[in-house]
Symmetry: C2
Subunit: 211 residues, 2 copies
């Protein structure tokens, strides 16, 4: 019964640890303490230890964490390098930027197609139409959909039936997308940079919150 272990919270913290440990490795740091990890987050060292306790054998009492081993354990648990296959749906100037962005390749996601109206040369990725998306997903075993604009509901549903099991949305209006994903019980992440920007403005306007 002590096993409630804050799954929700850990799910948002573990990727941060992964990122921090990556930086440590890049700098040749192979050993660290929970306090050193916590210093780069907004959490306490105790919270870090609790989260990382599940990765047995990656730490020694009185010594700290083995960065390399812990990093690999995190990769394993988080599904990094699992080579999820993805299709990006989008248009215009942003598309090539997103396609070429290391965000995907670096963290083990394989981009295997784009849905776009206009031809995007110089991007050596298969271009497909909305109508072909479901067939393509099935044939290529695509699991991840990256949306720069919403897809029409029927196509989205068809894609899910064709094996899509996760949606990463960057759309300004994601309400329809979220509704369908909830209905199909498929995990979804919708990014809204504007929320952070505005909360920052609010804090700039009301600095007393710091006290």
């Amino acid at each position: 019964m002590t096993k409630s272990t804050d799954v929700r919270g850990a799910m948002t913290r573990l990727p941060q640890y992964y990122r921090i440990l990556r930086h440590f490795l890049q700098e040749g740091i192979y050993r660290c303490s929970s306090a050193e990890i916590a210093a780069h987050t907004e959490y306490s060292a105790v919270a870090v230890r609790k989260d990382l306790a599940r990765f047995a054998g990656c730490a020694k009492q009185g010594y700290g964490y083995y960065v390399k081993q812990l990093y690999q354990a995190l990769c394993e648990y988080l599904g990094v390098h699992d080579q999820f296959r993805a299709v990006i749906v989008g248009e215009g100037d942003v598309l090539p930027l997103v396609v070429r962005h290391p965000l995907f390749s670096v963290h083990g996601i394989r981009l295997c197609g784009i849905v776009a109206q206009s031809d995007a040369p110089s991007l050596d990725v298969t271009r497909i139409t909305e109508a072909d998306l479901p067939t393509f997903c099935r044939a290529q075993r695509v699991g991840l959909l990256v949306l720069l604009r919403p897809l029409p509901e029927p196509i989205l549903r068809a894609a899910m039936e064709a094996g899509i099991c996760g949606i990463f949305s960057l759309c300004e209006d994601d309400r329809a997308t979220r509704a369908v994903a909830a209905d199909c019980a498929i995990p979804v992440r919708c990014l809204h940079p504007v929320d952070d920007l505005i909360s920052l403005c609010c804090e700039m306007k009301h600095p007393q919150n710091e006290a």
Copy 2:
């Protein structure tokens, strides 16, 4: 003493309400209930009511919220349309995209300069050098710094002394930036889309979390 009112949490939820109400207005919806707002979030209707209770006069019992009035109250509180002045620091292909992105102008942030190595024509914004940044900030009363790459620490500190009172970072490695901001007690928001992407992958890998 009942006045602890969950400031931290509200700060992350209020921008969402703002965004949702914006959509409602765009669709000509001038009245809504807490349940209708909650439906577009991951929170309960009670949580929404509690958050919005501070905006007195924007709701009537038995009726719901006056979308227009509530939206305006939120804008006022959040500092939207306060016309914060901003400088963007960045390079390459992304720069014009960010500069032209409605993210800033739509929500009342006035872009008045960019720090970039190469000349970026067709962007009618003043281009300044790193060295000139502090002077420029002071002269133009710039409050917000948008970082697409980290600034050297001395320049960052000088900029803060010159009036920068908020940092919006999109840098992959924001550790130095956060450290300086913490030291100066200046609010900062660092975006890490990769964290969301990876937590999504993790959920795709371990679907049991849903049950």
